[in-house]
């Protein structure tokens, strides 16, 4: 988890620019007509360096999973681009697209539904080699699958077992082995530990960190668990209703959040320390997240924000440095971004 060297002007491995995904809402069974759009992701930009972990946090409906699914090209964006080593992944076709899929892999949330119950573990992990036959010669594939099983801490002898013979944590290891089979540069992990028990979560997080250090992977780590994201990430992006509310180096964001939503999210997370029960200055947000089909005008967070005024209803705030020279990498999209005296 080497921190990116800020002084060296290295081109980022992945650069996402103004990514947008709208899903049409259709009405009518016979004559389907568009009745609106769900703005799942609405103008997201970020960079990812080689070997870096970017944590993406946010509540349900904020667009974090759609974002990941676009990056591995399971969804086609409505607009925007994502440059991998300088080439737009959404413009890729044919062979170039095939090689892209090699380089960007995904670990899914639910280890119970994301593995085919009728395939053996060996077939699941080896399936990528069917599509990318040049990666490992046919005769060497079984050996490579055994190597991958060993790499993720499973016994190579279990190559002929079926998913139901494994526990949840072990299944997630199988999902990780499958994602690593083609030696990718970037792995997007969508809530990889949220279906697992606490004692098993730690095992899988440690495994991801070890693998990253060993293989030099860049990780996009999507989760709603703030303490897990803090543990694993170099940088964090906090999303709200399809946009990034705040982003920056992980310790800056957690210690000195400047966007009201980040402050509320961090303060609402329960701390596993009963001594801090009464001292914590908890910000209680009112209400629920508005529908992404009809987001508020101006700043999307304004309907739940205690700082909002009419400027927030009128002007949509853009990401801008929020702590000046103290934290040049920290950006917030808020007209009134400031470190709060009660958090941090």
């Amino acid at each position: 988890m080497a921190a990116p060297d800020l002084d060296a002007p290295v081109a980022p491995l992945l650069e996402v620019r103004n990514l947008v995904k709208y899903f049409p809402i259709e009405r009518g069974a016979l004559l389907r007509r568009a009745a609106g759009q769900v703005k799942a992701v609405d103008g997201v930009s970020f960079q990812l360096a080689r070997g870096e972990t970017l944590g993406i946090v946010g509540e349900s409906g904020c667009g974090k999973s759609t974002l990941a699914r676009m990056l591995v090209r399971l969804e086609t964006p409505t607009a925007g681009e994502a440059l991998l080593d300088g080439r737009d992944i959404f413009a890729m076709r044919g062979e170039e697209l095939t090689s892209l899929r090699r380089n960007m892999q995904m670990v899914m949330q639910d280890p119970y539904t994301s593995l085919n119950p009728r395939m053996t573990v060996g077939d699941i992990i080896g399936e990528p080699f069917e599509i990318h036959p040049d990666v490992v010669p046919r005769g060497a594939r079984a050996a490579r699958v055994r190597e991958l099983l060993d790499l993720v801490g499973l016994s190579p002898e279990h190559i002929d077992r079926y998913p139901h013979q494994f526990s949840g944590g072990q299944r997630q290891r199988i999902g990780i082995a499958r994602a690593l089979a083609l030696d990718p540069k970037i792995v997007a992990c969508d809530e990889p530990v949220s279906a697992l028990d606490v004692s098993i979560q730690a095992q899988v997080i440690n495994l991801l960190e070890q693998l990253q250090a060993r293989l030099g992977l860049a990780l996009i780590f999507i989760a709603h668990d703030l303490s897990v994201v803090r543990h694993i990430s170099d940088r964090v992006a906090v999303m709200y209703l399809g946009r990034i509310a705040e982003t920056g180096p992980v310790e800056d964001i957690y210690n000195f959040p400047t966007h009201p939503y980040t402050q509320a999210l961090l303060s609402a997370a329960p701390v596993a320390d009963p001594a801090r029960r009464d001292q914590s200055h908890v910000i209680r947000l009112e209400g629920d997240v508005p529908s992404p089909a009809n987001p508020p005008s101006g700043c999307r967070f304004r309907t739940r924000c205690w700082k909002a005024d009419e400027r927030c209803a009128r002007e949509e705030p853009q990401l801008a440095p929020s702590r000046g020279a103290d934290a040049p990498g920290q950006l917030a999209a808020c007209h009134y971004a400031a470190v709060s005296s009660t958090t941090g």
Binding site: Q203, H224, R276
Partner: protein, 328 residues
């Protein structure tokens, strides 16, 4: 003095195709009015089955209560005929389920569902029951309750649906409220609202609250006492203020250590090796012994009893005093 609700040596098993699963293996605990007891455990630890046994909603068969008593206000619920048991459900003990979307009926309005218990159990007429449903919805802070009483479950957000569930549970003014992972399916900011509401209602009505959860953070913020479950047993029980800084059982200690720290370190997380035991084949001795870093030969042979330590806290470990003073 009698406790409001007391479990004594509760044993429940499930008969499955592959054999008998020993799901609860002697659970004893109690809760009093105005108190919050957390039952904490991982999947398969028996925390939800404990709740179902108290409510009398176990699927029998395959489940069977092999032994034990569930005393509510001094009466053993397991010995009551079904008709009397039903009278306790709702009025005496009520439950909020984890997944509000599947616990609510999609084809009836929420108002109808909240009022159902009132119509059936208290004989209120339709109009009076509907008015009472609106009161309850207002009490759980559902905005615009008078209009929303006619809405269906799918028209509510996850947080609002959980409020509807709480309103239903409160309808008959229960003395014990069991909340089974009430916030697990919810987002962090909504989770905080729901936990606040549950605590507020508990204090206002002097209810006992049994909170079933796997979340060490939530427990630390809301519970008075905590019972840690593992393989169908309570392995440690203490006040939260005693337990978090100084766990007395190696399993509790390992759970607390496996959580990511408040401050970022480059150290890997502490893990618990292996998996919870298969309930069809629980190992002899202490059920935690195959995963325990300090297990002795004794631990592989003899099940440690739940013993009382200073301050009235309980722990089931042969080496509990060493764990407590930090020497093991």
């Amino acid at each position: 003095m009698n406790h409001l609700l007391e479990l004594q040596d509760l044993q429940v098993e499930f008969r499955t195709r592959d054999g008998v699963a020993h799901v609860l293996n002697g659970v004893s605990c109690h809760v009093d009015a105005g108190e919050t007891l957390a039952l904490l455990g991982e999947s398969g630890s028996g925390k939800s089955v404990t709740a179902q046994a108290i409510m009398g909603i176990l699927d029998i068969p395959p489940a069977a209560v092999r032994a034990g008593r569930i005393l509510f206000e001094g009466r053993d619920l397991l010995a009551l005929p079904e008709r009397e048991r039903r009278a306790v459900r709702g009025q005496g003990i009520a439950m909020v389920f984890q997944d509000a979307l599947s616990a609510l009926n999609p084809v009836f309005t929420v108002g109808w569902q909240i009022a159902e218990a009132l119509r059936v159990r208290t004989g209120l007429d339709r109009k009076a029951a509907a008015r009472r449903a609106i009161d309850l919805m207002e009490r759980v802070k559902i905005p615009d309750a008078a209009a929303r009483v006619h809405d269906y479950p799918h028209q509510f957000s996850g947080g609002m649906r959980q409020r509807v569930m709480i309103a239903m549970a409160l309808a008959l003014d229960p003395k014990v409220l069991i909340a089974d992972e009430p916030t697990t399916a919810l987002d962090v900011t909504v989770q905080a609202q729901i936990m606040d509401l549950l605590l507020e209602l508990k204090n206002e009505r002097g209810m006992a609250l049994i909170l079933i959860t796997h979340d060490l953070g939530v427990v630390a913020q809301v519970a008075d006492r905590i019972a840690v479950m593992y393989a169908g047993r309570i392995v440690e029980q203490a006040s939260v203020h005693d337990l978090y800084p100084r766990p007395a059982h190696p399993y509790t200690r390992a759970l607390l250590q496996s959580m990511p720290r408040q401050h970022r370190t480059d150290q890997p997380l502490t893990t618990i090796q292996g998996l919870p035991p298969n309930l069809l084949r629980i190992p002899p001795g202490c059920p935690f012994n195959p995963r325990c870093p300090i297990a002795l030969d004794l631990c592989r042979e003899v099940i440690p009893p739940l013993i009382t330590l200073e301050g009235g806290r309980l722990s089931a470990c042969h080496r509990t005093r060493e764990v407590l003073d930090g020497s093991a």
